[in-house]
Symmetry: C2
Subunit: 223 residues, 2 copies
Amino acid sequence: MIPYLCSRTHSNGKDMTQVKKVIDASTEERIKNAARAVFQKKGYVAARTRDIAEEAGINLALLNYYFRSKEKLFELIMFETLTDFSQGLKDVLNDECTTFEHKVELLVANYLNMFTKEPDVPLFILSEIRNRPEDLFAKLPVRQLLENSVFVMQFREKTATGQTKESSLLHLMMNLLGATIFPFVGQPLIMALGGVDKPQFNQLMQERKKLIPVWIEAILKTE
Amino acid sequence: MIPYLCSRTHSNGKDMTQVKKVIDASTEERIKNAARAVFQKKGYVAARTRDIAEEAGINLALLNYYFRSKEKLFELIMFETLTDFSQGLKDVLNDECTTFEHKVELLVANYLNMFTKEPDVPLFILSEIRNRPEDLFAKLPVRQLLENSVFVMQFREKTATGQTKESSLLHLMMNLLGATIFPFVGQPLIMALGGVDKPQFNQLMQERKKLIPVWIEAILKTE
DNA sequence: GTCTATATTCTGATAGAC
DNA sequence: GTCTATCAGAATATAGAC
């Protein structure tokens, strides 16, 4: 604990995503916003530059004027998306000033807020990672996120009484990310299974903000 | 409980997927196997009929001779994939002869076995559902899977002591499917996060067969 | 900077020989 | 049934006018 470094505040209501203004933006910004929307909704291959141009309200040629190619534009969007995503982990996991339990709450709340606003992002990221894993991990040093983080140290301390298996940490991460992210990845399936609409689904996500941290605690006590 | 109807047996080791023989199969079967592999790996749009033909070791024209079009071939593969997937739920959820706890164990074990063999299937299904929801739900009556199932009745009985909120069932399904399926959907991410290789990943999935049912019980006790 | 028109490449599908 | 060669359409990217 390094108290004098702990001036940053973390509130559950804090948004990690910025909803960019689509109106009154420069042409370049409007193209980027359109590209983000279309890429996230359809994925790289299915997204057509014509769709993006139309969504941005500009001509097809202008897209190449600003960004040279579909590929370059995609890489830019993907980099920003991955940065937002990993920032949600990074900031929380390495905070010296919060407890393990508080970190879990913050992670869950942050991601639930983020993906309630942009529900297509998780499936987009995971799909594109499948299509070009090496490419994306080069830009996202995901291993370092966890390794030697305050979060992991706190986890080891917390579970030190029993003999913690090395795999426990990874199971925890799968459960934490699974409980938080999976509902969005499987959103149409979940909505169909439960017969709920979008507002009801979002209500469920709000409930999960409180529930998941409790569940995680209960799970950790079973070991 | 209807004991005299309970002759079927369920073993954890039972496979719900059949690994089709690729060698010594008819041309039609070889094309289907190739199509399944390519579609599941790349998704509908990114998969090229030329890739499928090459994978099957036949000519491009032959693919259209047997299946008329890429679209028709895809619909066939998707139908089979969804049938396999929902069968894994259906058979277990409506069995009069197993307890709630046993159903959970069977669901988890079945899906973990299935997806350990075919890790691309979950992301494939969820991606394609996103691309054409109405199309796919027409073929997969997913709402009926849960509604009025033995599993749901048993769940209501089990949680009848406390006041069970209607949303609890859906949270349970999200947790159950999330804990089981999410690791496969996010496989590259999980492997990178933990610095583990494929065999180690599969080992973790084996561990989860025992762990997830215990966790689910612990979670239900928190309500 | 922005547009229209066009070049180029890729991909699904078919014609026709064997 | 299986192949080679080819067509038709679509999508990315660019040339060139304004």
